[in-house]
């Protein structure tokens, strides 16, 4: 499982950033980036199947647990290789590594997903595509939007 983004819906309000920081003691793992004046994209851990961060982590702190790219803080040496290896720039280090833990222990699931005012984040990989298909099906059937 990971958190997926419907880019059509993101309004760049940064709620996910503040929520993530709030539930992780001030260390946020999601970042909203503005693309020109036309779009905003929240960037966060993809929980890659073959995760670069786990491959370079010699201490075994970053590792795969099923689909999740998990992090064992006890084993982290703070070397920073993971931050270099992550192609999305979403693993970062100060003294230790920080990354999305999908709000482990939070019964209701990831805070960013719950708090997103625009319903742009979900754990359903298919959702954005399904919404797009439904919109186009409707447009075809009704002869366009307008």
């Amino acid at each position: 499982m990971a958190v997926y983004i419907d880019i059509n819906r993101c309004i760049g309000c940064r709620s996910c950033e503040v929520a993530c920081q709030r539930v992780h003691g001030g260390h946020g793992h999601i970042n909203v980036h503005y693309v020109g004046d036309y779009a905003a994209v929240p960037v966060l851990c993809h929980h890659c199947q073959e995760a670069g961060c786990t491959m370079v982590c010699f201490s075994g702190a970053l590792h795969k647990e099923g689909e999740v790219t998990a992090f064992d803080v006890e084993k982290c040496t703070g070397c920073g290789l993971c931050a270099l290896a992550c192609p999305f720039g979403v693993v970062w280090t100060d003294k230790l590594a920080h990354k999305c833990d999908l709000c482990q222990g939070r019964e209701e699931g990831p805070a960013c997903m719950a708090t997103c005012p625009a319903n742009a984040l979900s754990d359903d990989f298919e959702l954005a595509a399904r919404r797009a298909r439904e919109r186009s099906a409707r447009a075809v059937a009704l002869g366009g939007r307008r």
Partner: protein, 678 residues
Amino acid sequence: MTKVLVPTVCPYCGAGCGFYIAVEKEKASGIEYMPDHPVSQGALCAKGNAALEILCHPERLVSPLKRRGEGWVRISWPEAMDLVARGLSQAKKKHGPRSLAFLSSSKCSNEDNYLMQKLARLLGSPHIDNCARLCHSPSVVGLNRTLGAAGMTNPIPDIASSRCIFIIGSNLAENHPVISRWIHRAKDQGATVIVADPRATPTSWMADIFLQLEPGTDVALLNGMAHVIIKEGLINRDYIDRSTRGFEALAEAVKEATAERTAEITGVAAEDIVHAARAYAKSPASSILYSMGITQHSTGTDNVQAVSNLALICGQLGRPGTGVMPLRGQNNVQGACDMGALAEFYPGYKKAADPKTIQYFSAAWSVHDLPLGPGLTATEMIEAAAAGTIKAMYIMGEDPANSDPCSENVRQALESLDFLVVQDIFMTATAQLADVVLPGAVWAEKEGSFTNTERRVQWSHKAIEPPGVARSDGEIICDVARSMGLQFDYPHAASVLDEINRTVPQYAGITRERLDAGSIAWPCPNADHPGTPILHCSGFNLADGRASIVPVAFRPAAEAASSDYPLILTTGRVAVHHNAGSMTRRSPSLISREPDLYVEMNREDAAALDVQDGDEVKITTIRGETAAIARLGDRVKKGVVFMPFHFPGTNILTTETTDREARIPEFKVCACNISRRD
């Protein structure tokens, strides 16, 4: 360790999102979302997520203070009450009750506002107002006149069933973020979204049709759309005949407002105007959402009436998915107005100038000599203070020294008062000017009802105690009243709501007990009434049950670009800040995301001035100057610049010119000049 979840209503915008405060050992330990909330469904924006940061903020006011020289000394509550009673009484005795003015707060509960206006009026002063004056007073005037009720006509979730959503003068994606989920839901069902705004914003990202009009040309645009709708026969003739009056006059008034003519004035392509007009008129259910971009103009009331006209000629009212929706900016602007914290209305929108109103409240409050209004509005109070006719003011939860236009004049006016008492949670710019400062409580530290932008009344519970010896605002007002010799026996907020149930007909059935089971939308005339989520389903609360179509002519904004001031400055909000910023600028996770005052400029304008992205620039208007960081882009058109008003610098620049009826200042248009600072 036991953890209790206390349900509260978010203290920021008017959407009225709910969340729980987790309380452990009498401390607020966190926020839990509220998935079953009818509006927010568990979502919260950045400000909501950061709300707890102001609870134990080190700068909170924790004790009453009195001025001594340049500094402050802590005093006890009895001494504070003594000083306040003396200050207000002296002015009253020397200059009469009309030398007193009161500013109530759209951040405070219905009960607090009810008490504040009652205090003002029992002391004999008609001068009570709240900062709705600076945001939605044209909606109160305009919508009362055209539709007979000043409120959002349909609930927020209802937007999902709209088939065409016309957003004009509102950047709701940043200012009321949760509303965007309902808009997206409508879009999923095939709805067309039209956005009219001088700026491209995250709201216009949602648009199918984006009308980037020149600031201050809203009436022209709306009249132009009405022209197209009438010309193409897209009006709802049945509805016009059955439910309105005044259509013929409008048809005559917009005869010349062709799409081409409108295009010249507004800068919007004629075909887009036609396109938008058709989409709005043809859809089976269209709604109009508007906000400060409509109201904060010298033509604010006209703008609101032009919005109403459009809805009325198309019959887009009184059904699910339709409506006219003024989006309120603060958690209780709607409630503060409902409670009569307004110069021209007693509670329940009973006209202050009507002797019957005075009779009604004299009986209800068992008093005589209630002042006949209208009193001075918030902006007029400041002028009167400067002119010396207002001698003493009691300001609760408002920061006019920051939030009013031309703030240097405001500062001088407040300094010239004989006595100023400010009740707030932080030492705001206004509190700095006071003789006595009283420490109030934030939403989580008191209980009470709040009315969100949809007229939905919700009860917010007390989670924790206020810091130091700070007290709930209702308690403080009652104490001030008693120290002035008035009978104010309200042991708790519920007892005030009890009186509201008896005196405000719209709230008659919204009792404390019922609010435990959930929210209720006013009007709710009795305890068995379910409330009224959608207004105007069967006629209007005006003569013959008909709405009024009131033609309005386009008038340009008060200030136009000139050779000395060649750029048009418009102001607004950003997602991570709120209003004058006294809360959000103190909230670490918000201020860190938007730390500086900036001015958004078009790249072409910037290039001509040799300004690069990130440069510090000086913005000058005829009233003053301020510094800001230049932010370049294509969000604003050439000739237009934008500044957020959350920082003290912005309102040094804005104009004091007001709407002639609603007295709202024209925050959205003024002429300015920009230069590099070096």
